[in-house]
Subunit: 292 residues, 2 copies
Amino acid sequence: MAIDELVRRMRGLGNPSVIGLDPRLESMPRHLAENAKTLSEAADAILEFNKALIDELWDIVPAVKPQIAFYEAYGWQGIKAYIETVAYAKKKGLIVIGDIKRGDIASTAQAYAEAHLGPVYGEDFSTVNPYMGEDSLEPFIKVCKERSKGIFVLVKTSNPGSGQLQDLMVLSNGVQMPLYESVGLMVKRLGEDLIGECGYSEIGAVTGVTHPAQAKRLRELMPRTLFLAPGYGAQGAKAIDIADGSIVNSSRGIIEAHTRSPYKERFGEAGFAKAARAAALDMREDLLCLRI
Amino acid sequence: MAIDELVRRMRGLGNPSVIGLDPRLESMPRHLAENAKTLSEAADAILEFNKALIDELWDIVPAVKPQIAFYEAYGWQGIKAYIETVAYAKKKGLIVIGDIKRGDIASTAQAYAEAHLGPVYGEDFSTVNPYMGEDSLEPFIKVCKERSKGIFVLVKTSNPGSGQLQDLMVLSNGVQMPLYESVGLMVKRLGEDLIGECGYSEIGAVTGVTHPAQAKRLRELMPRTLFLAPGYGAQGAKAIDIADGSIVNSSRGIIEAHTRSPYKERFGEAGFAKAARAAALDMREDLLCLRI
C-alpha cells in the first residue's frame, strides 16, 4: 500500500516532511532562469532545477509534492516537465504526492484518478477537493484500492481565508460542528477499510499547520488518518504546534533556501541544491518532536 | 468584457446553450479511435474529432466548454490537444469556457488564473472551486478585471451527491441557510463591481439543472449572475425547470449523438459531426422557453 511505503520511509529516515516542488522562474538561480524565454525553455529550466534538487534530497526526505499549477502554467511543455519530474523522483525512490486538488462529477473524476494514479502521471498520492461530495471522491478511492495508491482530501486548508467556508457551523447528522469536521468524519469513514500495517489509511487529510487547534481536534476525531500539513515555514507555525501523525510540507522554505539567510551566504546561487539539502536537514531536526 | 460577448452571442443566436467538448475514445467514431494506441495518437484523434464538431457547431451555438480532465488524462499530449482545441474554437468565433474547477491558495491560484485566462491556454472563462474561500478566488478575479475575462464558481453542482456538503445548513452572518446559498451570496458580492452592459457579472455560478428548486432560489438571490447549468439531457431535467439567465450545458447528448436514436439512424457513425449539429439544433429549440 502507498501509505505503508510512505510511513515506512518517514520512520526509516526519522523525517516527517515532504518537500514541495513548486518551481518559480523568478526565484530560480539566474543561470537556469535567464534563458527561459519560451514555454519550452521554461519547462527545461524547471526540470533541470528539480532534478538537481531531487539529487540532493532523495536520501534524506521521504517524499516530494509537486504542485501541478506551477507546471500547468507553462502549457503542455510544463505538464511534460511535471511528468518527467514525477518519474525522476520515483526512480530515486521518493514517494510522490501530486498536489492537483481535482474534484468533479464521477465520470470526470474517474478520468483524473486513472491518469494521475496510473501510468500516465504515476503519482503515489493525489490531493483532491471534497466540495462536490462523496460521489466525486469515489472514483479516486476505487483506483486507490485497485492500484494500492492513496489520496489526501482537503479538510482544513492553510490559507488565511480557509475558515470562510470550512469553519461555518453545520448540522451534520443532528450534531453541530464546523464544516471541516464534517468533512473530516467523511474522510475517516471512507478510509476505514483501507488501513495499512503501519496504522494509517490510504485516505489521508490535508490540514494546514497554521490552524493548530483545529488540527489537534481533527487528530482526535480521525486517529488513523495521516495528515498532509502545509503552511510550515513561511507562515510561522512552530513544530510543537503540529499534530502527531502529520507529514509536514515546506516548498519555498526549502527549494528557495538559496535566496535567504543563512543559506544564501553559505551556498550562493550556484549552490541552490546544497542549500535546499541544508534547509531540509534543519527542518528534519526541528520536526523530531513529532511522533509518526 | 467576456460576459457581454457571451450574452450577446447567446441572444444573437437565440441559443442559451454551451456544448461540452468531453471527448471519450470509447464513444468516438471507429475511424478516429481505432488507431489511437499511444497518448500522442489519442490526442490527435481527439483534436480531429473536436475540429469536425466545431466546424458544424460554431454558427449555431454561442460557446463550447472543454472539460480538461478528458485531455489531461492523455498526459502532455492531451493538454496540447486541449490548447489547440481552445485556439481552434476561438478562431471560429466561439466563446470558450475552460472547465478546470481549480482552487488553491493565492500564489497557486494566481499561476492557474494567469495561464488559463491568459495567452498560454486562452480561455474566456474558467470554472473554479470555492472550498478554500474567497482568497483562493481573488487571483482569478484580479485576472478577470485586468484582461476582461470571467469565471464560473461552483455553487450547487449537478451530481447526485452534491447535497452532502452543499446542502448542509450553515449559520452565515447570523442567518441560517444551506451552504450553497452562502457560497452564492459570496459569488454575488464578488461580482458586484464587474457587471457588464448586458446586465450580468463576469463572475458567474455553476448551478446544476438537476436541482431546479435550488436554482430558482439562487436566481432570486443573485439576479445579475449568469448560471452555467450542467446536467441537461442525460439526467432528465426539463427545459421548463431551468432558471432564466442560464447557459445550459450538454456534452455527451450532443457530441455522442451519433451513438443514439434518432441521430444514429439518420447520420451514422461517419456523420457524427452532422449528428451533433442536429442534436444541438433540437436542444436550442427545446430551450427557447428560457429568457436570457
